[in-house]
Symmetry: C2
Subunit: 399 residues, 2 copies
């Protein structure tokens, strides 16, 4: 019998398909030369970090006493940082948050884990929409919760309301949504948000208890075609916003984000008070202190999302020319492509072996029959990959 | 019925006694003036951060490309940081670690949580020695594990081997030890470590499976009286070291530490491979990237522990003069004091109400009948508190 827990054994056996492709990409780059492979596998921001951030770090090193800058604060974070974020959101979205509505976290993933820690008793269910970031399942199973899956809704990948209604049961404590979406790049429009809110209201009524909408929104600012982001707390009271500065500032390694709970949410004051207990209980204690102080100085800074938009337009046009069916990607830095054969893993291998194109299997997002391409890459690489992508489509009779 | 999970409700009801005392201290400081209260409640490092750390942060901002410095790396951390830590340990302790034995974590708490995530199936037991840092219980219950408690062993608070043997059952997957200890300040000597290892070997044999020794050692370098630290992996193969740079560099807000698993541990390679899955699953992804790069430049830097030692000597001499019974504190920055009445909470209130002395109840460490005083405070405050501490003892007939 192994000393390792059953769940960790399962994780070890399945690994992270995404991370494995990343390692495979590194291996192929060594074998063939970085310039001869087309790696679309990992969602790693590649637009420059705004110079303001490093300037802000240098400033806080000079401004603060070191024991304050690197020291403990209240578990939910420095009060001035939380207030600055609330003010910034209020200004941008017309909301009315105070610093106390926010708990600084070790990225959006930590925010989701804290939300689940607060909500879940063993056996409680959390619904997610396929395709989804598979770590959600692991976050939920930490606390002996159960993941239930709303089936995919191709070709638009906008959530289907009947499917949502059928997935929610009396045990459902929350659903997780992610818009702009990983892996599809789809952005939920305002009507979709209204529809989700209506189904949740209806199910709350039916089952007699609150159902939380946990919104994973690290890609909130990566949005194109002039779309506006419908800020979720305006549409549904029982919302928990999980945000990360990873994507808007290209700093995913720093692990800085927040959990936001509006006053109008059920038991909001107890939930907010519980963030302090929960962030300690999950072993984080608080978000990294220096980054909290630096971030508050650069809340309007952005890495250059036009770079992603330009990549998106080129890649989508190439995929269309090659004959592939693509979900309409209006956010994040992903496109989700229907594979011309049902077995997406076979397609992934074929693309890698014949064209050194590295992509992620849809099965890694609980959605076989599709693949994900991440376009946070060099524009020149996409240009250079064009012929190979066209040939790949040709091999499958798409052009 | 509340939307909040039963465990979070329990945490909300009990709160963190330690944090509550901290808030109470802040309230009293406002009421009476900071200079008129004697706050010994919180274990917050107060010796200056070594200037080398801020210099190292400035250096890495200049040296690295921002996307690398603030970006994703392999989940267990930058390879050069891990190798530098392994080399540093090998040099100091005569060990033989490689970078692959180390996973960088969001502090020691995160390292413990990752270790538990890897080991625990629901219902598995983890034994802890009272008095102990009560968050251990929360870390364990995250994964539906069960905490079993080895009763306190006053007046030395060195672990009692029969009590340990009686607490371990066939369901015990691990024990947690913490030396130098919070709250007692006691440092386990080499013979005690050998004894613990012998009991664990005996129990492994009896129950037919490995039992891990999870060592929580943020205070490893805060050790006085010329003591040497017995590095645990030399005494017991199935050891997991959970370290934090919080105390040795006075940077608890930054959340940077590591989990170390030696090659000789059971299934060590699978456990090490699982750290990548576990740090993602608990929502951290990786330790903060900039701090990883800065830390590796200052592995021999230390905040000035002589300041703590001087405080310790003064406080212990005052407590002795006042007639209190004190466990022999040779490490960390705590003394653990027997209360002259069985009800330690009553004593805590009496000291606060009559002398504005803020201390922590032993009940907050599962050890009623004692109180903890943290001496990471100003030396002058201890001097000024002397008369009040003597009078407090006098009130209870101790002098």
């Amino acid at each position: 019998m192994s000393v390792i827990s059953k769940e960790t054994q399962r994780l070890l056996a399945t690994g992270s398909t995404l991370r494995d492709m990343f390692e495979e990409g590194k291996r192929l780059a060594k074998q063939y030369g970085r310039e001869n492979i087309y790696d679309f596998s990992l969602g790693n921001p590649n637009t420059p970090v705004p110079e303001e951030l490093n300037d802000a770090i240098r400033q806080v090193l000079d401004e603060y006493d070191s024991l304050t800058l690197h020291g403990y604060m209240s578990n939910p974070g420095f009060e001035d940082t939380r207030q600055a974020i609330a003010d910034n959101l209020n200004e941008r979205f017309g909301t009315n948050f105070a610093g106390k509505n926010i708990c600084m976290t070790v990225g959006a993933a930590n925010a989701i884990v804290i939300a689940l820690k607060i909500l879940l008793d063993p056996g409680d269910e959390v619904a997610v929409f396929a395709p989804f970031f598979l770590e959600y399942r692991n976050y939920i199973s930490n606390f002996c919760g159960v993941t239930t899956v709303v089936p995919p809704n191709p070709p638009t990948f906008m959530p289907d309301m009947d499917a949502l209604r059928n997935t929610i049961t009396e045990k459902t404590k929350a659903i997780i949504i992610n818009t702009p979406n990983n892996p599809t790049g789809v952005v939920y429009d305002e009507q979709t948000i209204r529809n989700i809110a209506a189904v949740l209201e209806e199910c709350q009524e039916k089952y007699g208890h609150p159902i939380f909408l946990i919104s994973d929104e690290p890609y909130r600012e990566l949005i194109y075609d002039g779309l506006e982001y419908p800020f979720l707390t305006k549409y549904y009271a029982n919302t928990m916003i999980c945000y990360s500065f990873s994507k808007c500032l290209s700093i995913p390694g720093e692990r800085i984000g927040y959990l936001l709970v509006p006053d109008e949410a059920a038991e909001s004051q107890d939930i907010l008070a519980s963030t302090a207990n929960a962030i300690r209980a999950v072993g984080c204690v608080n978000a990294p202190s220096l980054q909290q102080k630096a971030i508050m100085k650069v809340l309007n800074a952005r890495s250059d999302t036009h770079i992603y938009d330009r990549n998106r337009q080129l890649l989508v046009s190439i995929l269309h020319e090659a004959g592939f069916e693509v979900a309409n990607p209006q956010g994040a830095f992903y496109v989700f492509v229907k594979t011309p054969v049902p077995d997406d893993k076979e397609f992934v291998s074929y693309a890698k072996d014949n064209y050194r194109i590295i992509i992620s299997s849809g099965a890694a997002f609980d959605c076989p029959g599709y693949i994900r391409m991440a376009y946070c890459v060099e524009y020149a690489m996409i240009e250079k990959a064009k012929d190979s992508i066209i040939k790949l489509g040709k091999d499958y009779g798409l052009n």
